[in-house]
Symmetry: C2
Subunit: 219 residues, 2 copies
């Protein structure tokens, strides 16, 4: 693990969002006990957080994932909308893949378990401030997989010939048959032929449907 330089020379301003008073107090104390960190405020709800955090301008927010009414995930999404550069770490008692996953989608920068040891908490906070994204490797894997699906160019589960795939690619750029014919230096009738075969193989009946299927990867 690379060492991140601390984000600021002075104290890191932390705001905690946690509805249960007992937990809030103990975490506040815990954070304040770490050198270089100060818990400047403890929000009791997501609504509270949305109200006060923009003016408090903390360096980092620790957000409980379970909050009454507005969940920590929704609160995270809204906060990030208002303050895109705000760093938010999710806190969760249980390691629920799905929840953490949603939190990351909402804009969380990492997450940690509530049973984290003080030194790990400190490391995670420094990590996220330094541009990291603390998370367990299972979550990382899920994120990687999701990202891979999304970032890979559309893949076909249908066996198209090379030429047919070329045509399909041009099709998905919105070209008309005539234009495709030009670009491939073939006749429009040939393009039509290829399309016929493509539609057959993909089980679609129109270019728009073919494009849609191709783009969503569910070809």
């Amino acid at each position: 693990m690379k060492n991140h330089p601390p984000a600021a020379i002075q104290t890191v301003k932390v705001v905690l969002v946690e509805d249960k008073p007992g937990v809030r107090d103990s975490w506040t104390k815990l954070i304040n006990s770490l050198p270089g960190f100060a818990c400047m405020h403890g929000c009791v709800s997501g609504e509270d957080a949305l109200k006060v955090i923009p003016s408090l301008k903390p360096d980092l927010v620790l957000m409980d994932i379970f909050l009454p009414r507005m969940s920590g995930i929704e609160c995270t999404a809204r906060l990030k909308l208002a303050m895109p550069k705000l760093q938010i770490l999710m806190l969760t008692a249980v390691e629920d893949d799905e929840l953490v996953f949603m939190a990351l989608q909402a804009g969380a920068d990492g997450y940690l378990l509530k049973r984290t040891k003080p030194e790990d908490l400190r490391a995670a906070m420094l990590d996220v401030l330094g541009g990291g994204a603390p998370m367990t490797s299972e979550i990382a894997r899920r994120v990687v997989e999701s990202f891979r699906r999304a970032s890979q160019q559309p893949k076909l589960d249908v066996r198209l010939s090379a030429r047919e795939e070329e045509v399909l690619i041009l099709l998905s750029k919105g070209y008309a048959n005539k234009e495709i014919a030009e670009q491939l230096a073939i006749g429009t009738e040939t393009v039509g032929s290829h399309l016929k075969h493509i539609y057959e193989k993909m089980h679609v009946r129109s270019r728009a449907e073919a494009v849609a299927r191709y783009m969503t990867g569910k070809a």
Copy 2:
């Protein structure tokens, strides 16, 4: 970090892909020195790896990211194509975000630094076999960000009316005018009208083009 159960009761079969003989030897020894792991083969190149790994059927591949001719990244992509369930860990001397990122896109399941300590190597291998994705948190962050960008739905930079957007969404699912009309309980002529306006606003001339622009977010 959660404890993963070992993927198999018996020895984990590892294949190493590394062009430099010295490094290959020392890693082979290192892997064999770990209880429960056996380096069954050392490939000298990506081409070699593609040839022998499918028949060796290892549990895990450790792949140098820098290989002559075919890079470890390309080799990873090809291996994953042939053996999607094969676990591949990238090895890199330097922590180059861009390279690791590309490797993950290519299908790598995690990566580790060559200077990793034996116990960390063992942990990483167990981690990846158990479904994790070992990586540093900077990489994780980049992946998260990329994934977040990709997972948000297409947004229009054109001001379509609510109805028009509905029509466009149905269009992008591949529906024909008649079907769209049915779903919205309006006449096909009305759908045509909406399409006219949509095309105007989007500066396109066909449904396929509109779908393409919409799906790529460059509407």
